[in-house]
């Protein structure tokens, strides 16, 4: 593929970067990234990835836009209330950059469909932008089993955290958090609230990791959990080791296929 003059101008600010260049821009234009969840984290992540010229962006979300989403889910607008989030997000990111091929999956992710969604376009990198533990563990296990890199993230209150899994290069999410907590044992955003900018900060970090992975630049958050506290403005990088007893990536894995954990009732219908 050749970069057109228009693309040359559109991406000029990143093409001039050392380590990117025309070659790197081509990699981005040929990259395929899957974003699961088009809410607080998925909104900024999808917009920046589209703007950067990621060739194919898959969006997964079963939900419709609700008025209470708009405080943080900036890919959706007031006019989109009641519309499927994947369609609203597709329109926004296509308006930012018509170069992007947006693939939508208006589905609830489960053990039966997740591997097929990832394999649909053979995505290069996956972003976990979901809001519940059953799906977070599902995404982790699917990525470990399919040997796909992914970025995990969570936000709550005034805090957020993120880590990156790359097969064979560090711990997975389950190495750290062995199994989902019982529903309602730990607070959710709906119960505890969240400052809208947290999605912007952490979701943009996830997009940064995806771009670095595609370009092969710098150091990823593999083997680290980055924890951000908006009140103290502390970013802490906690070093993580692999867990030999991990049920999915450890020495004797007991998880060889995906498991549907029960979803908290208040969130399942969202």
């Amino acid at each position: 593929m050749e970069i057109t003059n228009e693309q040359m101008e559109r991406y000029s600010r990143q093409i001039i970067l050392q380590g990117v260049g025309g070659k790197g821009q081509k990699k981005l234009l040929q990259a395929k990234i899957l974003i699961i969840g088009t809410g607080g984290l998925g909104s900024p992540a999808s917009m920046y990835l589209a703007a950067a010229g990621i060739g194919t962006i898959g969006l997964v979300d079963f939900d419709n836009v609700d008025l209470s989403n708009l405080q943080r889910q900036i890919v959706h607008s007031t006019n989109d209330i009641g519309r499927p989030k994947v369609l609203s997000a597709k329109e926004s990111i296509t308006a930012i950059n018509p170069d992007v091929d947006v693939v939508t999956y208006q589905k609830i992710v489960n053990a039966g469909n997740l591997k097929n969604i990832i394999k649909d376009r053979d995505y290069d990198f996956i972003l976990d932008c979901t809001d519940n533990f059953p799906v977070k563990f599902l995404i982790n296990d699917a990525c470990v089993l399919l040997q796909k890199p992914f970025s995990h993230a969570g936000i709550l209150g005034f805090k957020g955290q993120t880590m990156t899994y790359v097969p064979g290069r560090g711990p997975c999410y389950r190495c750290v958090f062995q199994t989902p907590p019982p529903s309602d044992a730990v607070p959710s955003c709906k119960q505890a609230g969240v400052l809208g900018v947290l999605g912007g900060i952490i979701g943009t970090l996830q997009a940064t990791e995806a771009i670095k992975y595609i370009l092969g630049l710098g150091n990823l958050l593999t083997g680290y959990l980055l924890i951000y506290d908006a009140l103290t403005m502390d970013f802490r990088k906690v070093k993580l080791s692999r867990n030999k007893k991990c049920a999915v990536c450890g020495e004797k894995p007991t998880i060889t296929k995906l498991i549907d954990y029960e979803q908290p009732k208040c969130e399942a219908k969202r």
């Binding site: 969840g37 809410g39 607080g40 984290l41 998925g42 939900d63 989403n69 889910q73 976990d128 932008c129 979901t130 809001d131 519940n132 533990f133 977070k136 993230a153 969570g154 936000i155 709550l156 805090k159 957020g160 955290q161 190495c175 750290v176 958090f177 062995q178 907590p181 044992a185 730990v186 607070p187 959710s188 955003c189 505890a192 969240v194 999605g199 959990l225 502390d234 802490r236 906690v238 070093k239 993580l240 080791s241 867990n243 007893k245 969202r270």
Partner: protein, 68 residues
């Protein structure tokens, strides 16, 4: 003795196991906290028998579920 807990120096007036440390440092939802000592994950089943030693680097890692 002094330990480093979540990046901060914390003084403990006596020796204790992980489960007691979680209590005295008022960890939130202690039954769902992942504990790392000097970069090693501690099994939850071993919280009552794993001692904290002078100079240990202890991390509490919390579930953070939101995103939408």
């Amino acid at each position: 003795m002094n330990i480093t807990l979540n990046g901060k120096i914390v003084f403990l007036d006596k020796k204790m196991m992980v489960d007691e440390l979680l209590k005295v440092t008022k960890a939130q939802t202690p039954e769902y906290v992942t504990v790392q000592i000097n970069n090693e994950f501690i099994d939850k089943a071993d919280f009552g028998i794993t001692p904290i030693n002078e100079g240990d680097t202890v991390e509490y890692l919390y579930f953070m579920g939101g995103g939408q």
